[in-house]
């Protein structure tokens, strides 16, 4: 066998393997991206649920604590901002704010013992707690997926394929409770 044929066979082999690698990587990138979308829709379902709960919660509690006007307004406007948020960073900042406002709202409502006897309120409180938990768990799952995808996109050699097909690293979904992070000011 001539040296030329050997070279051709080797080159052809490399090209075939390269193509197979590109196809496999492309498919796994698409798979990861779809899983990410799925994980994100999980979060959206829960965020939507939280938005739906808030008007009920406000209506149920208003009869008991009508003079807590500021608290009600804060919740309602935070909800409106969160519902209108579009981009990832907007959503994440608006939802973190809503989480903080809601936890303060529930703390204020703790001052009304009559509410604790209200079945509607108790049911809504349970729904809210559960929804907050589901958001937290869904967020964890989503961020795990982001890590997988970003690793694949940024690590060699899969980054070459990702670059060819224009895959962009995904953003993490962070929810920081600014109210909790801030040191409470105490004045006498």
């Amino acid at each position: 066998m001539a040296a030329g044929t050997v070279v051709i066979i080797v080159l052809a082999g490399i090209i075939v393997f390269g193509l197979l690698y590109v196809v496999a990587t492309y498919n796994s990138l698409v798979g990861l991206r779809n899983q990410l979308k799925n994980a994100w829709s999980q979060i959206e379902v829960q965020l939507k649920r939280r938005h739906d709960l808030i008007p009920n919660l406000v209506e149920t509690t208003r009869g008991y604590a009508a003079h807590e006007r500021q608290t009600f307004d804060a919740v309602t406007s935070a909800r409106a901002r969160a519902a209108g948020a579009k981009s990832m960073s907007e959503i994440s900042s608006a939802e973190s704010e809503l989480t903080g406002v809601l936890s303060r709202f529930m703390a204020v409502m703790e001052n009304y013992p009559e509410l604790k006897a209200n079945q509607n309120f108790l049911a809504l409180q349970e729904e809210l707690t559960s929804t907050e938990n589901k958001i937290a768990f869904a967020r964890q799952a989503y961020n795990d997926q982001v890590l997988f995808l970003n690793n694949k996109i940024q690590m060699f050699p899969s980054n070459v394929v990702a670059g060819m097909f224009n895959f962009r690293p995904a953003e993490y979904f962070e929810l920081e409770d600014k109210a909790q992070a801030a040191v409470p000011k105490v004045s006498f």
């Binding site: 009869g63 009508a66 079945q119 509607n120 349970e126 707690t129 559960s130 589901k134």
Partner: protein
Amino acid sequence: MFWSIIAANKRKTVLLIAAMGLFLVLLGAAIGVFVAGDYHPYAGFAGAGIAALVWAVMLLASLYASDSVLLSISNAHQVDRDTYPQLYNLVEEMVIAGSLPAMPKVYVVDDPAPNAFAMGKSPKDSHICVTAGLLAVCGRDELQGVVAHELGHIMNRDLLYMTVAATMLGSMLLISDVFLRSFRYSTMRYTSRSRRSSGKGAVVILIVSLVLAILAPILARILYFSISRKREYLADATSARLTRYPEGLASALEKIGGSTEKLVAARSVTAPFYIVNPTKQSLHDSVFATHPPLSARIKVLRSMAGGAGYLDYMKAYIQVTRKRQALIPAADLKGAGKVEIRAANAAGPAAGLTAAESRRRAGDIMRAVNKFAFVTCQCGLEIKLPPEYAGDTVSCPRCKRVHSVIRPGAKATGAVLSASAAMNASAAVRPESVAQDYSGPGHAGVQQEKLNPGKWQTITCHACGRPYEISPSFGSRKLVCSGCGSLILFSPASEAVHHKRG
């Protein structure tokens, strides 16, 4: 995910099925030869064939019908979101946390003893059961810990092996029982009628039944040995990891272990399924125990100082049990990241209940699950009506007032017990019926309620928040709140009526 544990569980299941098959075929062949070996040269094969058929039936039963059989002997009732929203929510949360492919079916077991178990061969088709007693004594965080523990069993495929094993064992006990009965019957007949007994058949039946009767408990022991006791620790680790709050499970285990109620529904066959062994509450380790000692499990969970991840659990496990061997195979720990412990949720409703109170609450939970109607009378008596009760009205046995009965289901009941408060979750939210003026109870107690004839109506007492469902046939103009004694007056449609504190 503990891949090596899952693989081991699958391997063990196959091994068990094969061993059981071999044993049965040999037994069948021996019986065949013994009974008819003198007349037919192939009697051994025939016996083996029959045994193989029995084995196949057992196998099919354990793979396809076991769940429903085991659930029904455990007295479990399926619940949905409307019957017990909190439990349902907790399962949903853990399904999201563990990324399970499907939502398990949720059951409540009619029993005042606190305990829980799971069943199911794969995460796609699984069942989670808690007892009414557990719901009565556990707060939200504790219940979450228990649910996550059960989900851990499902994720680790512990239940595949246990279900198959329990069904095989159960059917073996059944066969031995049938043989013993038939033997008793046949001896009775033979002794009473005539002495022309063939003898041999009766002897064989006796021998087989005796062998099975002796073997079954031994097999049960072997089965219990073969069920890895590590599985409870592993499910605890999963629970801590999923809930990110080990204290919840620890305190639930403490409550379950501290309970003096005895689980009625538990059988020796189903015992290994429960979170805490329901048949023997031994605090100390024993060779025959199906569960590791509770005290050790609680201690491990409480020693998880650094975080809620698998690595933290491992560290605590080694520290408490002083065992060198790894609990979790190293291969499964790769990529196990750091998991922070979260803060406690608001404490559940059940703090410091007496035994009588918790039993009463367990009973009420079970009545709600069984679609009882709850009617609270103005005199403070709570009337609990079984679903068989046909009338639309009921008169209070104490004060003779007549109430309309609101059936559970589409409509939420008016005043319900605190434990099942959340049962009203979705149905009860009717903001429009909360009074139109937002004056609240502090403002001279003006509560205007308009009566819409021919329609269902939800009203809430402003003084104490107790909700009422007003039926279309509600004829009275006033209602005394059973919670606080306030008087609520009704005006038909337009007429305005004020009400004063009674």
